[in-house]
């Protein structure tokens, strides 16, 4: 198995077909609702924002989509393939080739005891790369793209600042050229100037690589900058969805109106 023979990336991309099609996705925690009857389509190159208060089911939805948790009901089709019906081997392969997951806390997504280069190289080695020089070159290239100095390649992430760790996590996820990226509060816990740079970087990467992104956040500024479309969740249900600017400028649902008006104006 070589890097280039991964079957997923070989498919011809049809921009008119949704990359991800979700129908009636439901997850319950016993009697409580995680998320209820969520449906949406995500097209190639599209960025979908999911906003809502804490406990509204955003993260549950994301982890069900990414296969970290098993949904109780519903269907997920990725590129025409039924994700929930896949064997675990296939799903995990998808998870390290075609998909990427950026955690809120970089410590969850990085190996803290392994150097930055090893962190970026892990996904390459996981899909069969066995040439040290090539792996290192590619790691070097990706560190450059996320603005980490090349002389930090052998440092461990524990020696990095929070913003650098988050950028390293992004490099580690994007190195295998995924088509769909899940992001859970990628800017949470960073100060505003670092947030701004990270958002700038993300926007550039998303545009250059034509990524499809599902981004969960409670920061409306993040979705305003990044997302094309927006889904507003409350108590596990989607209460409103539409184009980002439309939802934020002309909110219809009472909860969305509350959310938009709660943003602090500086």
């Amino acid at each position: 198995m070589t890097l280039h023979s991964t079957e997923f990336s070989q498919k011809i991309r049809d921009p008119d077909q949704p990359l991800l099609k979700v129908e009636g996705l439901t997850k319950r925690y016993g009697p409580r609702i995680g998320c209820l009857d969520v449906s949406f389509d995500l097209y190639p190159g599209e960025v979908l924002g999911i906003v809502g208060e804490s406990g509204s089911g955003k993260s549950t939805l994301l982890s069900c989509l990414a296969g970290h948790q098993r949904a109780d009901l519903g269907r997920i089709a990725y590129d025409g393939r039924d994700v929930l019906g896949m064997s675990e081997t296939e799903r995990r392969r998808l998870g390290r080739t075609d998909w990427a997951f950026v955690h809120q806390n970089p410590r969850d997504g990085l190996r803290m005891g392994v150097s930055a280069g090893g962190n970026v190289g892990e996904r390459l080695m996981a899909v069969g790369a066995r040439h040290y020089g090539d792996i290192r070159d590619k790691a070097q290239d990706w560190l450059g793209r996320v603005e980490i100095a090349s002389d930090r390649i052998d440092d461990r992430p524990s020696a990095f600042s929070g913003g650098m760790q988050q950028r390293l996590q992004i490099a580690r996820n994007l190195v295998t050229g995924p088509r769909l990226v899940f992001m859970d509060e990628p800017t949470g816990g960073l100060d505003v100037s670092v947030q701004a740079r990270l958002l700038d970087l993300l926007r550039g990467l998303v545009r250059d690589l034509g990524l499809s992104v599902i981004i969960v956040t409670h920061d409306l500024a993040v979705v305003r900058l990044l997302a094309h479309r927006l889904m507003v969740m409350k108590s596990g249900r989607v209460v409103e969805q539409g184009l980002t600017d439309q939802v934020l400028d002309d909110p219809q649902h009472a909860y969305t109106q509350l959310l938009v008006s709660s943003v602090l104006q500086v």
């Binding site: 392994v114 090893g118 996981a126 066995r130 040439h131 020089g133 792996i135 390649i153 052998d154």
Partner: protein, 285 residues
């Protein structure tokens, strides 16, 4: 002698261990869980190996026990005496004569033959343990053949030291399927694991795992295309027997920087000296 059942363990326990061994041989490199017993020695002294040896021994066997290649060190002597007392089997120091060899961290220099059983003492059977602490996760990784992480360790070695610095317990892939920890043998011994005519059994007492390599199994040491696996040894000849191709121990001989290199396999070294080979400091036997 009559105070003990043959080879210390009761028959039902030996039966349970034999089932684990057979399963291990049927699935080379797969770690089979077994109900490890308390043995009259501390964990880390070879409780896993001793249980596997006890399950394999028959009264006609000739047992050899080595510790880091030597027949005369504490661990080897006490385990050998243990089986002399509890099983009353014949013992030997000669590799060719032995039918069962229990070893701690070496493979004898003398090539093994069909019909011999080599039993390894294993401290930590899980090759991925120090990279991934969760047992649930490592089992899943074995199940799904997700071994990319093993190469991350080798990558880190090269990034930090310029070469693969792992020199013992060097990970191997068995029959193109399971990644296995060959116990802390020096990587010099790794090439002897594959296509070996003898049965190789691995017992980890504290971790309660048995795994095995049946005769003539394909065993490949992991590496990178541009940093191939290299077995290594001290760049010297044995000072006693003059052997050029055996694994050597470095022995400090005085406070003035004096040192000598001797074969770690004492039986091999003594055999060569008996045939008249001598090294730099050796005297003809």
């Amino acid at each position: 002698m009559t105070d003990y059942n043959f080879a210390y363990l009761d028959e039902q326990t030996k039966r349970m261990i034999r089932r684990a061994i057979l399963k291990g041989i049927a699935v080379p490199g797969y770690q089979v869980p077994f109900a490890s017993r308390e043995m009259p020695m501390p964990y880390g002294w070879g409780t896993g190996g001793v249980q596997v040896t006890a399950a394999c021994l028959v009264p006609e066997d000739k047992l050899k026990v080595i510790d880091q290649g030597a027949d005369d060190t504490t661990n080897a002597v006490s385990i050998r005496r243990f089986f002399q007392r509890t099983a009353n089997v014949a013992v030997t120091e000669a590799t060719e004569e032995a039918t069962v060899i229990q070893t701690r961290h070496r493979i004898p220099e003398t090539p093994l033959t069909e019909g011999q059983i080599l039993v390894y003492q294993v401290p930590i059977p899980e090759p991925l343990r120090f990279l991934e602490p969760r047992e649930t996760e490592t089992r899943k990784m074995h199940e799904l053949e997700e071994y990319g992480l093993m190469h991350v360790k080798l990558y880190e070695d090269i990034a930090r030291h310029g070469q693969i610095a792992t020199s013992y317990a060097y990970p191997v892939k068995v029959e193109g399927r399971y990644v296995m920890d060959p116990s802390p043998i020096p990587k010099f011994d790794n090439p002897k694991l594959g296509q070996n005519p003898a049965i190789q059994l691995f017992g980890a007492g504290r971790e309660q795992r048995i795994y095995a390599l049946p005769p003539y199994t394909e065993v490949v040491s992991l590496d990178f295309d541009d940093h191939p696996f290299q077995p290594s040894k001290a760049a010297h000849d044995c000072d006693l027997c003059g052997a050029k191709d055996s694994y050597l121990d470095e022995v400090i001989t005085d406070d003035a920087g004096g040192r000598m290199f001797v074969c770690s396999d004492t039986d091999f070294c003594a055999g060569r000296r008996a045939k008249g080979h001598t090294g730099r400091l050796g005297e003809a036997a």
